[in-house]
């Protein structure tokens, strides 16, 4: 549980109070009162809290020592920039970013999100039964949120069950935009430690240029398969093994479906894999709705140019009666992210401060 404690150095800044949560010190605005810790992840500790001004429950995520690792710092900055613009019921809302006390030397960042109960990864690996209606509703919400993102020119690029938050009533929201890019910007070669491999599209694995929204569709297909089968469909141990697993399920590809691979060596590798007819999804998921199988097959096409789009997926018979374009307007404007991978700490710090000012415009006048 959260414990109110004295501030360090016995210097109490105005407007802040201190709590210890799972032995981690939280320095938060006084309008938030922590309730209990709800998670600990790669970034840091998350605790549920109540906003005393609005009486709503929120999740506060503390990212400690954020500048120790520039990759993590850039991920956080990217998320701050993107989430400020996004307004959609299937994308997590970033409600507040707390202003640190010292502009030039702050080390921790506190993000305030709307509170969700758990994530899809926990649901999938639990024994909780999921009906066809559950699968359909989860998929619909994911596609609807993704359509909004793509209309804003945003590729998520790291969709996986752990990044899909859910409530008891089955509402679903996409989160973690640390790897998101705007479409058309040059893709960056990122270390495998950062990118989750199992949900990566073939064109990403093969490092083709000019990938697009189809990479997120592939990830959705992998997630959908995992909901149906309750385990990952392509749990590769490394890049080449990942590709082998994909081919072993989809079957060997005709030459015409490999034209998107611009690297001759990679194309030769795909052709050199053992000939196989693959396994039909109805064999992998015998209990699934035939329409779900059909949609899954269209999502997990090796060739990105043949893969179903988000809009086409929403119009697929499996989604019949759910998608209404009039209720799903596109994003206001395409969002541009001018983030340079080579920024050092001072620049990242300054950009973060500027993002925080959008949530605290009154702080712009002070010279802190």
């Amino acid at each position: 549980m959260a414990t109110l404690v004295e501030p360090p150095n016995r210097i109490k800044p105005k407007g802040k109070h201190y709590y210890t949560i799972w032995q981690t010190l939280f320095e938060i605005d006084t309008k938030y009162v922590p309730i209990k810790p709800i998670g600990r992840g790669a970034y840091g500790v998350v605790c549920s809290s109540i906003n005393r001004e609005t009486n709503e429950k929120v999740a506060i995520k503390k990212i400690g020592n954020i500048f120790e690792n520039s990759i993590d710092a850039l991920r956080t900055l990217r998320e701050l920039k993107l989430l400020r613009h996004i307004r959609h019921e299937n994308v997590i809302a970033l409600k507040d970013v707390m202003m640190p006390i010292h502009r030039t030397s702050f080390k921790d960042v506190y993000l305030v999100y709307e509170l969700m109960d758990t994530d899809l990864h926990q649901i999938i690996k639990s024994s909780q039964p999921l009906s066809n209606d559950h699968c359909k509703y989860f998929l619909f919400q994911l596609l609807r949120g993704l359509k909004y993102l793509h209309s804003a020119n945003i590729l998520h690029r790291d969709l996986k069950p752990g990044n899909l938050l859910v409530n008891a009533n089955c509402d679903l929201k996409i989160c973690d935009f640390g790897l998101a890019r705007t479409n058309g910007v040059d893709g960056q070669f990122m270390t495998e430690y950062v990118v989750t491999r199992w949900y990566r599209a073939p064109e990403l694995l093969l490092c083709c240029d000019n990938y697009g929204t189809s990479i997120d569709v592939w990830s959705v297909g992998c997630i959908f398969a995992e909901i149906l089968g309750r385990k990952p469909i392509f749990p590769g141990t490394e890049c080449l093994n990942q590709l082998k697993l994909i081919i072993s399920v989809l079957g060997s590809q005709h030459e015409s479906h490999l034209e998107f691979i611009d690297n001759a060596k990679a194309r030769r590798f795909i052709k050199s894999l053992p000939c196989t007819r693959g396994r039909h999804f109805s064999q992998l998921y015998p209990q699934a709705d035939p329409l779900a199988i059909d949609l899954l097959q269209k999502m997990l096409l090796f060739d990105p140019t043949k893969r179903i789009t988000v809009l086409e997926a929403l119009q697929h018979p499996y989604m019949a009666g759910l998608y209404d374009p009039r209720c799903n307007p596109p994003a206001q404007v395409p969002i541009s992210l001018d983030i340079d991978e080579h920024w050092g700490e001072p620049m990242i710090r300054e950009m973060m401060w500027n993002e925080m000012l959008h949530y605290h415009p009154e702080a712009a006048s002070t010279n802190a």
Binding site: G44, N169, E192, L240, A266
Partner: protein, 526 residues
Amino acid sequence: MSGLEELRKKLAPLFDAEKGFSSSSTLDPCDSYTFSDGGTVNLLSRSYGVYNINELGLQKCTSRSVDETDHSEKTYKCCSHEMRIFGAIGSGASSVVQRAIHIPTHRILALKKINIFEKEKRQQLLTEIRTLCEAPCYEGLVEFHGAFYTPDSGQISIALEYMDGGSLADILRMHRRIPEPILSSMFQKLLHGLSYLHGVRHLVHRDIKPANLLVNLKGEPKITDFGISAGLENSVAMCATFVGTVTYMSPERIRNENYSYPADIWSLGLALFECGTGEFPYTANEGPVNLMLQILDDPSPSPLKNKFSPEFCSFVDACLQKDPDTRPTAEQLLSHPFITKYEDAKVDLAGFVRSVFDPTQRMKDLADMLTIHYYLLFDGPDDLWQHTRNLYSESSIFSFSGKQHRGPSNIFTSLSSIRTTLVGDWPPEKLVHVVERLQCRTHGEDGVAIRVSGSFIIGNQFLICGDGIQVEGLPNFKDLGIDIPSKRMGTFHEQFIVEPTSLIGCEPTSLIGCYTIVKQELYINQ
């Protein structure tokens, strides 16, 4: 729209919203951990036994009874509250490395901090700790000093020998390539370390690359980051697991075949190729799949015969044989002509390293750290102050108020008296140092002379001005907005001559990185 409403009504709740969702908590002994009530992390491993880590340090638990305890087994007591932690040196794929001073021994360390809540990092940490515990103190290998867990940050810190030069990757960024005589001498020492890892500890490093080959200002090269080594004692020296970065992996690893010590030889050969030519021999910017396919399909890279010596080319070619069974061992490579060629040439590694890394900046950093360390002791709590005694040797001299004090006991007594006077009658508010100016220069071969001046103010902790190295826990002077002239209660200036600790008769390696104040002069104006 009506279809969506109908679907919603048919949905059964996933769980009781009031009770929330609780995930199952089954533990997999292969790669799991538990927290005990006291904040101790129990790292569990089926093969390697149990390690307990908390704020007080690392302790290995064995299944044997107390009576059978092996008293020769090393303990690594290294507590978080006994560390002064300074800024980051760098960050890698799975960790952040910071400089630190171990207060009881006044030793400068590299602290590698790892978040234990990510599965892959956790596994790396577990195998690294095991490797470090069992590969201590050998030429060519970075020394392990202990580990501890910090609840506040949820990280485990591994204390390693601080290499005050940098890595070969750092050198390549500045110099582009390294001359052959230097490489020959360096790789001879690295091969000794690798030969020890393979032949005595039966460990495959699995991440040999320029970034993990460090060198200090004395010119000593050492291998670090055994982070993904794995024990091989109980097998036929084969590994069937697969983790690691792409760049330096051998063909048999990429094919997911069994691999062993020869995989490290391949990586070493690639590292040498890159250091000698200034170029990584494969195209790396077209992604990991393309890189792997080049390693599998293309002929092994070979240095240009007309630009490099026959011995260098022969060494690289031997290491980069596609067939692991035809690669020489580390032991065999120690006899290779590329290594023996310069054996008697007395290559000046220290001179080379000092020409690459700025010794002046290194000295400044050292002076900053030692100064902060000293005044945090002086103005800090009594229990830490006791450690000041062993900052001095029997021949150390402290001058103050016209008197000279020699030896640890006398100096400690004298300083304690000054300290008591400054604390006064109301300890929460006492006279503390504010260092306003710091100058340093070399003294002798390894020592540094530090000249400090500043003010006394009433406060509760030491402060330092300027934009030098920062220490964790100490507020940045600029943020406090203190006006020194109006708060000044007196001024001081102090001179130190600090040298690396050396003691005749003791095991020399146990003191690497420790420092001694050999001369100190203090002047106070009230």
